[in-house]
Structures are given as structure tokens and as C-alpha cells.
């Protein structure tokens, strides 16, 4: 054998994603179930790359209307006013509360976009079997997974405001279509991050070593 890292796939072993038990797969094509906890065993998550791509693309499509369409329609004394996410940020910034504007900007615009870009980057590097910065990429993946849920801030505020401010006919707040798309972006990126298999990042390095041998 070589100095290379021994991997389960190389040895024909499979570890359970749930309880971590190393076992021999029932069959290479259909590894079967974990003998200890009953979890379905997979060498790598099924279609991880394809599925993640699909979800990222869907999220990217939703990202456009999420930012173009109003997330909130405020009706004050009969004159409705539609606000988009960027409109809200500009309003906050112009009215002097730039820290708030920054928070909203990061939580609602930058993070979803960064997640999309990060996942796309991870997928591309995996597909190109890059062996550079594997540690950094793994850390990036962890960050994407952790930070994902915080983007729901906007949706959260929206639902609160809509539920609380219903003072017809003085003032009323109605959710806009934008918030639906925004929620879709957040959920889709979260699922995409979930369906990505970080072990893929390391597969290429072992393959490269094999080739070097």
C-alpha cells in the first residue's frame, strides 16, 4: 500500500452517517443498512452534486424576484407603499441608522448571495477534483451550514409586522410576493447545503494520490 490516506471506499468499507459504525456493504451497488442503527448506508450521498446544483440554481432564480418584488406593502391612509429589501436598506441608511442598514444588508442580501456563491464554488472545485485548500473549503462548508438559518431574519420581521400592524383604515401592512421568494431562497440554499456531501472535497485528494502512485 502507499503512504496515502486509507479511505473506506478504497478498502470497500462503509461508515454509517448516523452512528459512525464501520461495516462492510452488503453489495457495492446497494450497500444496504447499518447493522447497528438501521440507517441506510451510502458511500457518498446520492447524486449529491447534481442535487446541490439543482437546488442552487433554483435558489439563484428565486433570488432575482426576491430582490425585485416588494416584500411588504404598507398602506397609510389609503396610499399604499411597496417596499423591496433594497428599498428598506436604502431607507434605513438614509434615515441615519446605518448599523441597522448594515445588518439587514448582510443578513438579507449578502449572506444568501454568499451562500449561493460558496456552494457553487464548492461544487465546481469538487467536480474539477481540485486538491487545493481542502481544509478551507471544509471550513467554508461548515460556515455555510451554520449561517444559513440566520437569513430568515427578514421573513421573521415581515411576518411579525404583518401580524401586528393591522390598523385599518389608518394603516395596514400586507406581505408582498418578494418575501415568498426570499423564503424560498433561504430554504433552498439550506437544503442545498444539506445535500452537499463534504466528503467529496477529500475524495479527489485520495484519487490524485492513487494516480501518483
Amino acid at each position: 500500500m502507499s503512504t496515502g490516506i486509507l479511505t473506506g471506499i478504497k478498502l470497500g468499507l462503509i461508515s454509517c452517517e448516523s452512528c459512525g459504525l464501520l461495516s462492510r456493504p452488503a453489495d457495492v451497488n446497494e450497500p444496504g443498512y447499518c447493522p447497528r442503527c438501521g440507517e441506510e448506508l451510502v458511500f457518498r450521498r446520492h447524486n449529491a452534486i447534481q442535487r446541490t446544483w439543482a437546488l442552487i440554481i433554483a435558489a439563484a432564480i428565486c433570488y432575482i424576484p426576491a430582490n425585485l418584488m416588494p416584500v411588504m406593502i404598507t398602506t397609510t391612509l389609503g396610499s399604499p407603499e411597496a417596499d423591496t429589501i433594497m428599498g428598506g436598506i436604502v431607507f434605513l441608511y438614509l434615515s441615519g441608522s446605518w448599523p441597522l442598514a448594515l445588518i439587514v444588508l448582510i443578513a438579507s442580501v449578502v449572506i444568501p448571495l454568499a451562500k449561493l456563491v460558496a456552494l457553487a464554488y464548492l461544487l465546481i472545485t469538487v467536480q474539477r477534483r481540485s486538491i487545493r485548500g481542502q481544509h478551507e473549503r471544509t471550513r467554508l462548508y461548515r460556515l455555510v451550514e451554520i449561517i444559513g438559518r440566520w437569513s430568515m431574519l427578514d421573513v421573521f420581521v415581515d411576518t411579525f409586522v404583518v401580524a401586528l400592524i393591522q390598523l385599518q383604515p389608518l394603516m395596514a401592512v400586507v406581505p408582498g410576493m418578494g418575501v415568498l421568494f426570499f423564503a424560498a431562497v433561504v430554504v433552498l440554499t439550506m437544503i442545498a447545503a444539506e445535500s452537499f456531501d463534504p466528503r467529496l472535497i477529500w475524495d479527489s485528494s485520495s484519487e490524485k494520490e492513487d494516480e501518483n502512485d
Partner: protein, 541 residues
């Protein structure tokens, strides 16, 4: 147990991951997202209305992305940008219209900024105090689409779908009329002034009025319009005349119209018909005479109190007016004489004749027949006379009335204008009579009478003096004698021991006794009525 794992016993997995070439179901998600997003985008593009620009002088209360465009209070668009024009003179407002409003964006569509306005005729736009200003809209008539508009400074007074008709009035000056000033018909507000402008040649003012349906049918080609602003006080032969419309028109002016009754068969005027705007009702109604027949009158008396415009009446009905007063030099006699020009309106005669027929019409219309009619009237003694319309003001008017005693006269129709014979005015006659009386008084020998009276008084005085000196002493002695006589009479009749009184007392006593005897007798008779027959019976012992 597992110390010596025989790796060879573990089955060899294929190093390469089996590639699932088939299309993953998960791709439905992005396809779905794309379809929804595209659907929304397509819907947006399809409902995209036109973008228009409106130029205003100021953009009071117009905000980017907040101000709406409203037609009949329905949102039809929204303001996108508000910018100054290139030369910084105007404001250019860009608005995104709804797809449904595309058809409304025609060349002559009107836009204005709706805001609270307080005018004398009312308050509008209260709602904008709360909701903010918005851009009002009214559709135009043109079929051509337009994208660039000039905003109005004030909302149009008449909305395009309001039923009625517009008319153009030409006036010498605007008076106190303004946009929104009411238009009255029989003191009922039936319309309003919607605009005014100086005529192109600067010689008159064009005032646009709108008369609401159904009142617009009362505007005929014969209709007269006049300024009904304020109070019209006129002092004429008819006395003090005060004309007002409503209090509102006192403040903001107004226009009234009326159709002369003689033009009752006239058809409603077409929209846009041009009318003259008269300064007052009198002017408006007086000038509608189709036929004007001028005459001249030569009075031989003072014309003081007669003014141009004074009425000429026939049997008390106004049939004309004085058009000129002056003097005329007669070269033949070398004298100046007062000359009064009058205009008679045969049309008015016609209007007063209730059982008017074609014959009368013919007499009025045809000049020859009209002359014959007037000559006929003069033959019957109709003469012009100056009369006092009001003793207080001293205003005069001219009356055509019947004077059967007047000397015969014939109108010379060759002269222009022909002369109507006159008779002296009633005041003149009165004056003449008083003058006659005064002349008679003047003729009396008042001085001689005074002399005689004086002489008489002197004689009387002398007589009185003689009475004083000669008769008074005599009278005194007479009176003393009389006093003496009365005194003696007193002693005889009234004194205590006066013989006359003594006699009277005795006589009264006698009478008392006689009365007593009669009573005794009647008592006896009552008890013994038979005594009247048998006589007095003897008393039983």
C-alpha cells in the same frame, strides 16, 4: 478477535462511485422556480403600461414613487421620477401608468396636481390633506396617443364627461368674472365660467362658459348674456332700480343669460357659439331689436331731466328709448331749438300685441306699411309728450299718447329721421296755467286797494274816538239809574217784610185749608157713598 483483520476477506468495492446518469427528480425544483419567476416576469411585462412625462410649473407635494395618478379616484399610475427641466424652469414628472390606462393617454388628456384648494365658491381636495397630494387626470377627446403632457395649474372646472355645452362670450372687459364664477338662468345656477382669455387682437375678452345639461337647451341663438356681478343700481325715469344676483355673485362675479320672449321659437345654440356679453341686463335685453326706427322730436321746452336711454312709452308700454339729446340750429328762423332723437322698436309693438297675426307681422316688417301705421296713429291724435317719471328725481321720459284735441299733423317721411309731432308736457301745461294765474294777479290794482283800505281805517279810528268822548259819560249815568231801579225792586219783592211776600203767605194758608176740606169730604164719601144721592144723614145720638 479482530486483531488480525484479513483485509482480503473484505470484499473489494469498486473504487469509482457508480454514476447515476439518469436525470434526478430534484431538477424539478429549479425548473419550477424558473417557471414561476418567468411567469411573474411575463405578467409584469404584459401589464406594463406606458411611461409618460408631465411638465408642471411646480411639483407641490409630488414625491417619487409615492404620488399616484388618479382618474375618478382610481389609481391609474404612479410617479417614478420628479426632476427639474434642463433649463430649471419647469418640473418634469415621469409616471408609470397602468396597462389599463393606456387607452386614456391621449394627446389632450389633462393632468393637474390635486391639493386642498379654498376658493370663494367652495373647498375642494380636503381628502388630500390626509392622503397627500395626487395628480388628477381627465381624459381627452383626441384619438391620438400621447406620452408628453403639460400639466394644468388648476383642475379643469368641467370634467370631460359632464353633460352640457360650452359657449364663448365676448366682452369689452372681464369685469369681476373669474374661473368658477356661476352662470345664472332665472337666478338659478346652471353653469360656470371655465376660462377666459384676451382676444387675439386685444380688443376684447373671450370668456368660456359651460352650461350644464339640461339647462343648455335654454341657450338659443337669440339668447343674451350679461354680467350679473355685484349690485347694479340705476337711477332712471323708472325710479331707483337695484339689480342683484345671489350673494355669491356679489363676491366672485357671475354671468346671467336670458332669451327674449319674442324669440321663443329659436333653436338651442350649438356648442361653441359666440355671444356678446353685455354689461348689464338692460343693455342685454334692449339691444335685441331687429328693427330700429329712428325718429326726431322737437320740443319747445326744457329738456332738463331727460337723459339718453330714457324710455319712450306708448300708452304706458316701453317701445323705444331716447338715443340723443341736443340742439338744432334752424337756419331759416335763426333759432336754436332742442332736438331729441328717439329709437322706436317696432318689434316690441309686435311683442305687446297679444292676438298678433300675420297681418301685424307684415305691418311691422314692411317699412311702407309701418309708416302708414304710424301716420294712422298720428292722425288719431297720438303725440309725443315729455312727462315726469318721478317727481322726486325729476327724470323725464317721452310718452306717446293720444291727444284728440291736438291739431292735425302729417309726418314727412322724406326726412330722415322723420319727425313725430309733439304736444307740450304736462308739467309745461301746469306751468303755463300757473303763469296765467300769476299774470292775472299781477294785473290787479293792489296799490289802490291798499290806499282805500288805509283811508277806511283812519275813519274808523275817528269814529271810535267820538264814541269814547261823547257816549261814554251818558252811558255811565244810565247805568246808575238802572242800579237804583233794581234796588227798589229788590225791596218790594224779596225783603222780609215785603208786602208782596205777606200776601203770598196768606194765599198759601188759604189753599192749605181748602185742601183739607176736600180730604174730609172724600173720606166721608168713601164711607157713605149713598150720601151723593140721599145727602148727609144725621149722626145717631
Amino acid at each position: 478477535m479482530t486483531d488480525n483483520v484479513d483485509l482480503n476477506n473484505i470484499p473489494q468495492a469498486t473504487a469509482e462511485l457508480k454514476k447515476h446518469r439518469r436525470f434526478s427528480v430534484v431538477w424539478i425544483i429549479p425548473i419550477l422556480a424558473a417557471v414561476v419567476a418567468l411567469g411573474i416576469a411575463v405578467q409584469r411585462i404584459l401589464t406594463e403600461g406606458p411611461t409618460i412625462t408631465i411638465v408642471f410649473k411646480t411639483a407641490e407635494g409630488v414625491e417619487e414613487g409615492k404620488t399616484y395618478l388618479k382618474y375618478k379616484d382610481v389609481n391609474i399610475g404612479q410617479v417614478k421620477t420628479v426632476k427639474l427641466s434642463g433649463d430649471f424652469v419647469k418640473v418634469v414628472v415621469t409616471a408609470k401608468m397602468d396597462k389599463s390606462a393606456t387607452g386614456l393617454m391621449v394627446e389632450d388628456a389633462k393632468f393637474w396636481i390635486e391639493k386642498p384648494r379654498v376658493t370663494l365658491s367652495g373647498v375642494t381636495g380636503i381628502g388630500t390633506l390626509l392622503s397627500g397630494n395626487y395628480i388628477g387626470f381627465d381624459v381627452g377627446k383626441s384619438k391620438k396617443a400621447g406620452r408628453k403632457f403639460i400639466g394644468l395649474e388648476v383642475p379643469p372646472a368641467i370634467k370631460i364627461d359632464q353633460l352640457g355645452r360650452r359657449f364663448l362670450l365676448q366682452a369689452d372687459d372681464l369685469g369681476s368674472v373669474g374661473i368658477g364664477s356661476p352662470v345664472y338662468y332665472r337666478r338659478l345656477q346652471v353653469g360656470q365660467v371655465i376660462g377666459y382669455d384676451l382676444a387675439a387682437d386685444g380688443r376684447s375678452v373671450d370668456i368660456k362658459v359651460f352650461v350644464n345639461a339640461p339647462y343648455d337647451n335654454y341657450v338659443t341663438n337669440a339668447t343674451r348674456f350679461w354680467q350679473a356681478s355685484g349690485v347694479d343700481v340705476s337711477l332712471g325715469a323708472n325710479g331707483l332700480n337695484v339689480q342683484t344676483q345671489s350673494v355669491l355673485s356679489l363676491l366672485i362675479g357671475g354671468i346671467a343669460f336670458e332669451t327674449p320672449p319674442s324669440a321663443s321659437e329659436a333653436k338651442p345654440a350649438a356648442a361653441g357659439t359666440v355671444f356678446a356679453l353685455y354689461s348689464d341686463r338692460t343693455a342685454a335685453t334692449a339691444k335685441h331689436e331687429a328693427i330700429v326706427q329712428p325718429y326726431v322730436l322737437y320740443f319747445n321746452e326744457s329738456l332738463r331731466g331727460l337723459s339718453v336711454g330714457a324710455p319712450v312709452t306708448f300708452l304706458g308700454l316701453p317701445v323705444g328709448e331716447v338715443t340723443g339729446i341736443g340742439l338744432e340750429y334752424n337756419a331759416a328762423t335763426d333759432v336754436l331749438r332742442p332736438r331729441v332723437d328717439v329709437a322706436l322698436y317696432p318689434g316690441r309693438f309686435r311683442a305687446f300685441v297679444k292676438n298678433a297675426s300675420a297681418v301685424v307681422d307684415e305691418k311691422v316688417q314692411n317699412a311702407g306699411q309701418r309708416h302708414a301705421l304710424v301716420q294712422n296713429m298720428v292722425d288719431r291724435g297720438v303725440r309725443a309728450q315729455l312727462r315726469s317719471g318721478s317727481l322726486v328725481t325729476g327724470q323725464l321720459y317721452i310718452a306717446l299718447d293720444r291727444f284728440p284735441d291736438a291739431p292735425k299733423a302729417k309726418i314727412d317721411w322724406t326726412k330722415s329721421p322723420p319727425e313725430i309731432p309733439v304736444v307740450p308736457g304736462s308739467l309745461q301745461i301746469l306751468e303755463n296755467k300757473i303763469n296765467g294765474i300769476l299774470a292775472k294777479i299781477d294785473k290787479m290794482p293792489l296799490e289802490a286797494i291798499g290806499e282805500d283800505l288805509k283811508k277806511l281805517l283812519v275813519t274808523t279810528d275817528q269814529t271810535m274816538k267820538r264814541v269814547d268822548t261823547e257816549i261814554t259819560p251818558e252811558l255811565k249815568t244810565t247805568l246808575e239809574d238802572l242800579k237804583r231801579v233794581l234796588k227798589s225792586t229788590d225791596a218790594t219783592l224779596v225783603g222780609k217784610d215785603a208786602p208782596a211776600q205777606q200776601d203770598l203767605r196768606d194765599a198759601l194758608q188759604e189753599m192749605t185749608r181748602a185742601a183739607r176740606a176736600i180730604r174730609v169730604f172724600t173720606d166721608y164719601l168713601e164711607r157713605h157713598p149713598e150720601a151723593l144721592i140721599r145727602g148727609k144723614t144725621k149722626e145717631k145720638p
